[in-house]
Every structure is written in C-alpha cells, then in structure tokens.
C-alpha cells in the first residue's frame, strides 16, 4: 500500500513539475514573442506610409499571381468570395475555383453568377490528383476559371489548382473568406523586396462576423454580437498579431494560415505539393517546405506580414467551434508526428531547435498536460498528495498570465492597426481578453484534448465546419 502511495506521490510530483514547466516555458516564450511583435508591428505600421505599393502596382515586373479557391459544399459563400478575389487590386491576377465534388449548388451558383459556360479543356497534372470533370469559363471574364473535379479532399483540390496555375506564385484562399482590396499587393511586397527567394508569404486572418459586407467587400468593421464570436476575435488577434509575427521574426515559422497565403509554385511543386495524410494541409506544407529546403540545402525565406487582411467567418456555435478546434489539434499532432525528425535536427536551425520543440511540447502535448492538470490537481488535493495552495497557484497562474497575453494582443492591435474604430469596441475587447481566461480557454482546451485523443486513436477524419453565412 505504501509503495502504491509512494508511486502516486512521485507521479503527481512529476506531473506538477511538468505542468509548471509547461506554464513557464509556454508563457515565457509567448511573452518574448509578444514583446518582439510589439516593436516590429509598430514599426511596420509606420513603414506603410512609404511602402511603395504604387510602384509595385505599376511595375510590369510584379510577378503574376493566381488565387486558388478550393470549395466543397460552399453554395452560400462561394460567389462573394470569388467576387472579392476578382476585385483584388493586383496588376496580373487570375482566379481558379476548384470545386471538389460538391453535392450542393456550389457550381450552379458560380455558373449563374458569373455566366460561366462549360467548355472543353485539357488537364495536364504535374501533381497527381483526382480527375477533373468539367471546365467552366466566361470569355468576358478571362481571368476566371472554375473547374469541377471528383472529390479528393482540400489538399487534392489545391493540388489540382496548382496544376492549372500558370503564374510563378499562387495564393490560396478559403471559400468563406473575403480579401481586402490591396491585400494581395501587400502580401507580395515582401516577396518582391526580398533578396532571398521568399517561398511563402502569409497575411492576417480577421473575423468577419459582426462586419457589414457588400458585393464581396467588407464595408464596415465591427465586433460580433455573440459572446462566443467575440472571444474568437481576441483569440485571432493573439494568434496572428503576436504568435505568427513573433515566430516569423525568430525565423521559426511553422504555421501560415491556409485561409490566405501566397506560395512560390515551383518550390511547392518540387516539395511534392499538398499532402493528404494530415487534416491541416497548410501547416503540413510549411513543415514539408522546411524539410525539403534543409534536405536539398536550399536557402528559402518565409514571410509573415500583419497588414494584408483576409476576413473569415468564425464558428458561431459550440458544435462547429468544437469541430474546428479538434481538427486543428489533430492536424497539429499529425504534422508534428509526421515530421518528427525535425525535432532537434541540426540542419533545421531555429525551426529544429526552438519552434518545432515549442509546438510539440506547448501546443501539441501541452493541451493534454494542461487539461489533465485541471483534473489531476484536485484529485491530488483530495488524496492529500498536493497542497491546496497549489491549485490556487495553478488557477491564478493560468488566469493572470492568460489575461496578460490576451490584453497584450489587444494593446498591439490598438497601437498598430486599430481596425475596430469605436472606443466601446476597445473596451469590449479588453473585457473579453480578461473573461476569455475564465471558462472559454478551458473549454477550448477540452476540445484540443479531444483532438489529441483522436490523434492517439489514429483518426484522420476531416470535420466539416458549416458556415452560418456572415459572408453570404
């Protein structure tokens, strides 16, 4: 009996240490990222005054870009997304919509809205994909092509788009997203300006819920009315404004949102295109590119800029939110596991020594550790193995540090882009940055824990998130 107690004591002590290290490592690195991003984003917003977008817009040397929109059962949002893509302010632009075997009216809506005609076309795949069933064009909109293919999943649809694309760069855009007019130009600016081959350029994704839209454009920015959506606004600010910016500054970008990013087509093709074996094809491609560059001794650059904006609809109910977060966590775990040789790999530099370990420990395992912590610490107290003050410290640490980081993200937004114009919006964001840590974060943690369990169970199911139609 005493040996069992001893084992339990040791296990719980070890677990407590694990939890504490997770908290300090995770929050410590997030604080560093926040401080780095504060300075860099502030400077970047000031630089916009002399950025030279006009020169980029007017130069015949600005590389052509193709926007790829993969769509599966997106009948309510597809027309507005395509419209917004076609309206993008970019000198040489083409839009390819890849319908991935939709069973709803996605194709019909496109045909009807853009007066498309089913035409004869040739498909010359460089990356193998499911076959194309039909090509749709309108000679009066020569820069729009829609294709319908046999269902093969989002990565397969993106690969089909890459095969059809002729430009040196492509931009993937989710079917529920709306692009800001100059977003593509801003996204290409670091690509053109860089002396090193920039193979990826990511922008910021903001929440569309609560905004007014017209004809594929956001006409008025506002906060959503639902509590769940407001929490997500704060969460997105934190994730994009200092998460992605910070990792970019450290040179350890592992995630670029699949909703909106530009890629160098030839490099992606050389790296094998999108893979179908994870449910987060965006992260998988980025990690794969790191892998490929290190293996082939190629010097590449990945850029993240926080001013090109793409608006997306966030889940407005718990069921959809749970599906989204489970999928993100499952995809994260799958990708980290798939590319585990990067972990502490010498040739991967900062990615192998900092970014990958951080994502594995804090973002991957951390979800399970923190969630179990919330369960095991009270058990330890009940068994008398953990002093009660530990629970208090654990809860307070989680709450206060989480609040510090969320408020930091809101401050960063305030110091830089200030997209929510009313004073009341700022106060609301601050209130939600505090409240987020008392319930919402724990709920998300639960969904992430479920994602980890799904990974351990070997699940590969893609959970579809239905849109309420903020972009409709």
């Amino acid at each position: 009996m005493s040996s069992l107690r001893l084992f339990l004591e040791d296990s719980i002590t070890f677990f407590n240490l694990l939890i504490l290290s997770y908290f300090f490592l995770g929050n410590g690195i997030y604080t560093i990222l926040m401080l780095l991003s504060l300075r860099a984003t502030w400077i970047h917003t000031r630089r916009l005054a002399y950025q030279g977008l006009d020169a980029l817009r007017g130069s015949p040397l600005t590389p052509p870009v193709t926007i790829l929109i993969p769509a599966w059962n997106e009948q309510d949002v597809i027309v507005n997304s395509v419209r917004s893509a076609l309206q993008a302010d970019y000198p040489e632009l083409r839009v390819i919509v890849v319908d991935d075997g939709s069973t709803d009216l996605t194709v019909d809506r496109l045909v009807e809205s853009f007066h498309l005609l089913e035409m004869d076309g040739a498909y010359r795949p460089s990356i193998p994909t499911a076959p194309i069933r039909a090509f749709y064009i309108n000679p009066e909109i020569p820069n729009l092509l829609a294709v319908s293919k046999v269902r093969g999943g989002k990565p397969d649809a993106l690969n089909a788009g890459i095969n059809l694309c002729r430009s040196p760069y492509f931009c993937n855009l989710d079917a529920d997203c709306l692009l800001e007019r100059d977003a593509l130009l801003r996204l290409m600016d670091p690509v053109v300006d860089s002396a090193v081959q920039t193979v990826v350029s990511g922008g910021i994704v903001r929440i569309l819920n609560g905004c007014e839209t017209s004809n594929g454009r956001v006409t008025k920015v506002g906060l959503p009315s639902r509590v769940l959506e407001r929490f997500q606004v704060v969460e997105y600010l934190r994730s994009f404004l200092f998460g992605r910016t910070g990792w970019h500054l450290l040179g350890g970008t592992l995630i670029v949102s699949g909703a909106f990013a530009v890629f160098h087509r030839a490099t992606v093709m050389e790296a094998g295109g999108y893979c179908n074996d994870t449910v987060t094809e965006d992260m998988d491609l980025i990690v794969q590119l790191h892998h490929w560059a290190a293996d082939n001794n190629r010097k590449i650059r990945m850029s993240f800029t926080s001013d090109p904006v793409c608006w997306t609809e966030c889940p407005s109910d718990l069921t959809m939110l749970a599906r989204q977060r489970r999928r993100w966590q499952l995809g994260l775990c799958q990708t980290l596991w798939k590319h585990s040789e990067i972990l502490f790999g010498r040739k991967y530099g900062i990615v192998g020594w900092l970014s990958f370990p951080f994502h594995s420990y804090v973002e991957g395992l951390g979800a399970a550790a923190e969630f179990l912590g919330y369960l095991l610490v009270p058990v330890g107290i009940l068994l008398g193995l953990v002093p009660p003050y530990f629970l208090l410290v654990f809860a307070l640490l989680g709450f206060i540090y989480g609040t510090f980081l969320s408020v930091g993200a809101v401050l960063l937004e305030e110091l830089t882009y200030r997209r929510y114009p009313r004073f009341g919006d700022l106060l609301t964001l601050l209130v939600f940055a505090v409240l987020e840590n008392a319930g919402y974060r724990q709920m998300i943690l639960y969904y992430r824990f479920q994602g980890v369990l799904k990974f351990l169970a070997g699940s590969r199911r893609w959970e579809k998130v239905a849109h309420a139609g903020a972009n409709a």
Partner: protein, 475 residues
C-alpha cells in the same frame, strides 16, 4: 510575487491601451480641424490659383502642422502626375522641400523646425526610430514631387546604413527618372549581382531601372555584353520592359536608332540571340521583335526553333504583333503548333489569333489537317477561351463559308461538343436558329452517308477526306 508582477503588468497594458485610444481620438480631432480650416486654401493653391493670402495663411503654420496637412497628398494615390509641378512649387515656397532635403542629408531635425501647435505626433523626434520614419517619408515626398535636383542626394542615400532609407531612395530615383542616376544604378546592379554589395535587392534595382526612359538604354550596353550571365539576364530584361512599355503606348512603335543605339541592336542580333543562357535568348527575342532592322526576321525565325522550349515560347509570344505577319514568319509560327511543349503550342495559337485573318487561317488550316488529338483539343480550348468560337458559330449562321465553316462543322461533329452546345445555349434564339438551319441538313447527310457506308470503308477514310464533305456540300 511573479503573479503580482504579471497582474501589475496586465493592468498597465490595459491603461496604456485606453490612454493610446484617447490620445488617438484627440489627435484625429486636431487633424480634422486643421484640414477643415486649411484644406480649402490648399485646394485653391493646387488648382493653380496662386493667392498671396493663401500662401501667407499656410506660412503661419508650424512646419510640423504643414507636414500633417500635406501628408495625405503624398499617400498612395493622393496626387496625380499633373499636379506634381504645382505641389513642388508650393512645397518649395513653404520651406518643406528644404526640410526634406535636410533630413535626407542629415539624420537630425533642422533647428528651425517648430513643433505642432497640438503638441503631439510630429514633434522633433528624439527617438532614432521616429527620425528614421520621418526621413523615409521625406525621401518618399521628394520622389513623388519628381524633384530632379535631389537625385544626387538620393544616390547618396543608397549607402545609408538603414535599409528602409535605401529602398525608399531607390523608389524615389525610379520615380524621378533623372538620366544621370541611371548609370549609377546600373553600377549598383553590377555590384549587387557580383556580391560586392548586399542591398538593395536585385529585383528592386531591376524594377527601378526598368522605369527609366528608353533613351537611357545606351548605358545598358556594357551590361548586355558583360561576362556574368546574371548581369546579362538583368540587362536584357530591363531593356525588354522598357521596350514593351513604350510599345504598349504606341501601336506603331519601332525600335529605331533614335531611341536605341545601333550598338545595342547589333549586340541583340549577333550576340544575345546566341547567348549560352536561354533566359537571355528568350528575353532578347521580345526586344528583337521591335527592332527596325532587316536581320530581325531571320533571327526571330531561328529563335522559334531554339532547342530550349522557354526561348521558343518567348519568341512565339513576341511575334504577336501585326507587323510580323510576313508569310515567312507565319509559317514559322504555324510550325510551332507542332511543338512538343504544350505551352509553346498555346503561345503560337494566341499569336496566330492576334495576327488577324491571315493568322487565324493558318490556325484553322492546322486544326483541320492535324491528326493529333491533343493539338486539336488544345486548339478548341484556345478558341473557346478567346471567345473566337462564338463568333465562328455566329458567322456560320450568317452563311460564312470556307475554312471557318469547316471549323464549325468539325466542332459540331465531335471536336468541341461542350463548348459548342454551351455557346448555342447562351446565344440568342435567332443565331441558334440560323445555325441549325444551316447545320442540320449537313448533319443529316453525313449520318445518312455513314449508315450507307460499310464500317470497313469508314475505318480506312483519312481525316482530310472526312473534312471535305461539307465543302462539297457548300459548293
């Protein structure tokens, strides 16, 4: 203790966020009031009506406020090129030009510059970061004003330790386009490519050089003849962009000796078209296409059959200009329709379409005689996407004969079932009816003939024979 510090930090962040928003509101109010008072005066002055009262009113403003007031004019799309001289004169008169030049030379604010009345925003900044931002904006403004005398200062700024200053200076030089700065920038390009200098990026330098006038191209001659492959690529590409830009503005554009020195033409026709680098040959093809030189035709013909598909592609595209519709080149482009690379074939199709009726006849002729299903499919695709199939169908209904009629009958028989049916579905009922009135008897006759002819005999028929039925009927 840690918790307490984090708590204090959080409260501090909240306070800073609220304070900044309030400060921003005050600042916006001030800018609005400034604009409402002085914007009408500024608008009058910019319209060319020079009023001493207006100038005096603006002179009374501190320079910081003047900068605030003028800033929207220099932001993206703020001012058109035609207003630049008026704005330049105004900025000179108000002392803004001197202020910006001062900032460009020295990383410090002039002592004469007074702060804003508002007391915030554009004080003479103490922080090096804010000074950098102000300097960069000043350089941008000099560029937008196209202030020619400032180019030597801007060239000096290319060696500034701050990369932002270097890139804005480069963009401003590209906007000012002072001929004297072209040679300096070419030298800079050499240094960057040869690794003697790390910045600006070669792509940015190329974009800047390409924005200069074509008359500056003589300075590119050493680069076009340089031993380094990348320098030759950059130089040829710069020349290509300059030429294509001018050609886009003038449909009769020719690269004669008045804009391009003979030595460059010779280099293009004798050296660059045979360059070991395919990228140089491909880019050179596009320039050669505009040369007013007899040798150009044979050189271009040769490039259409270059061993590298990329060069053939560029050459085929370069010939999409009506003045290249000589029978000699037309045959060359037609031969490209049999190219092993689909992109060359596609470029040749587009070129033939752009060359007008003679080019289209070549394309149709090739389609009707080709036995290669892939080429036929590709031709149909190009015709559908270019909208040419719709006009062919319409003309067919109107009674047009010849190769065009054969094309439509081919589409209907099997070559383009989807495209043709879509066009007929979308076209107006009259066009559809006219098409059917003419096509149905042909189709009936063909079906009847197929029923009467034994299968073995059908299998032996060649495509050419098959195509001749409608011609017989039309006759």
């Amino acid at each position: 203790m840690t918790l307490l510090w984090v708590l204090i930090g959080t409260c501090l962040l909240i306070a800073v966020a609220i304070f900044r928003r309030r400060q921003q509101i005050r600042y916006s109010r001030y800018v609005r009031s400034l604009e409402s008072t002085y914007r009408p005066i500024l608008a009058t002055l910019l319209s060319g009506r020079h009023t001493p009262q207006g100038i005096n009113a603006l002179r009374e403003l501190p320079l910081a406020d003047l900068e605030l007031l003028f800033d929207p004019l220099f932001s993206a799309g703020g001012i058109g090129q035609k207003h630049a001289p008026v704005l330049q004169a105004l900025c000179t008169e108000l002392g803004l030009l001197r202020l910006w030049q001062h900032r460009l030379i020295r990383d410090e604010e002039p002592p004469a510059r007074r702060g804003s009345r508002h007391g915030m925003g554009l004080h003479p900044p103490a922080s090096p970061l804010l000074r950098l931002l102000l300097r960069a904006k000043s350089i941008r403004n000099l560029g937008i004003l196209r202030h020619q005398p400032s180019w030597p200062l801007l060239v000096r700024a290319l060696d500034d330790p701050q990369s932002d200053i270097r890139s804005v200076a480069l963009r401003s030089l590209a906007t000012i386009r002072a001929p004297g700065s072209f040679r300096v920038l070419v030298g800079r390009l050499h240094a960057v490519v040869l690794g003697e200098s790390a910045s600006p990026s070669p792509r940015a330098l190329k974009a800047a050089l390409a924005s200069f006038d074509l008359t500056c191209s003589a300075e590119l001659l050493p680069s076009l003849r340089h031993a380094h492959r990348r320098i030759r690529i950059f130089a040829t590409d710069i020349l290509r962009v300059m030429v294509c830009r001018d050609a886009a503005l003038d449909s009769d554009f020719l690269l004669g000796s008045e804009v391009c020195i003979p030595a460059i033409a010779d280099t293009l026709l004798t050296t660059l078209c045979r360059d070991p680098s395919a990228e140089v040959r491909g880019r050179a093809a596009e320039v050669i296409a505009f040369l007013a030189d007899r040798r150009a035709t044979s050189v271009l013909y040769g490039l259409l059959f270059d061993p590298q598909w990329y060069v053939r592609l560029r050459a085929a595209r370069a010939l999409a200009n009506p003045r290249h519709s000589s029978p000699y080149l037309l045959l060359g482009i037609r031969d490209c329709l049999r190219d092993p690379h689909w992109r060359v074939r596609e470029a040749a199709m587009h070129t033939l379409i752009s060359l007008g009726p003679r080019g289209r006849q070549q394309l149709y002729g090739h389609f009707l005689t080709s036995r290669d299903p892939a080429t036929r499919k590709q031709t149909v695709e190009v015709l559908e996407r270019s909208g040419l199939m719709a006009s062919l169908v319409k003309d067919y209904g109107e009674g047009a004969g010849g190769v065009e009629a054969l094309m439509v009958e081919q589409f209907a028989s099997a070559a383009a079932p989807l495209g043709l049916s879509a066009i007929l579905r979308m076209s107006n009922p009259q066009v559809r009816q006219k098409f059917l009135d003419r096509f149905l008897p042909v189709a009936r006759f063909k079906m009847q003939l197929q029923e009467e002819t034994p299968l073995e005999a059908n299998a032996g028929m060649d495509v050419q024979q098959d195509l001749e039925f409608p011609t017989v009927l039309a006759a």
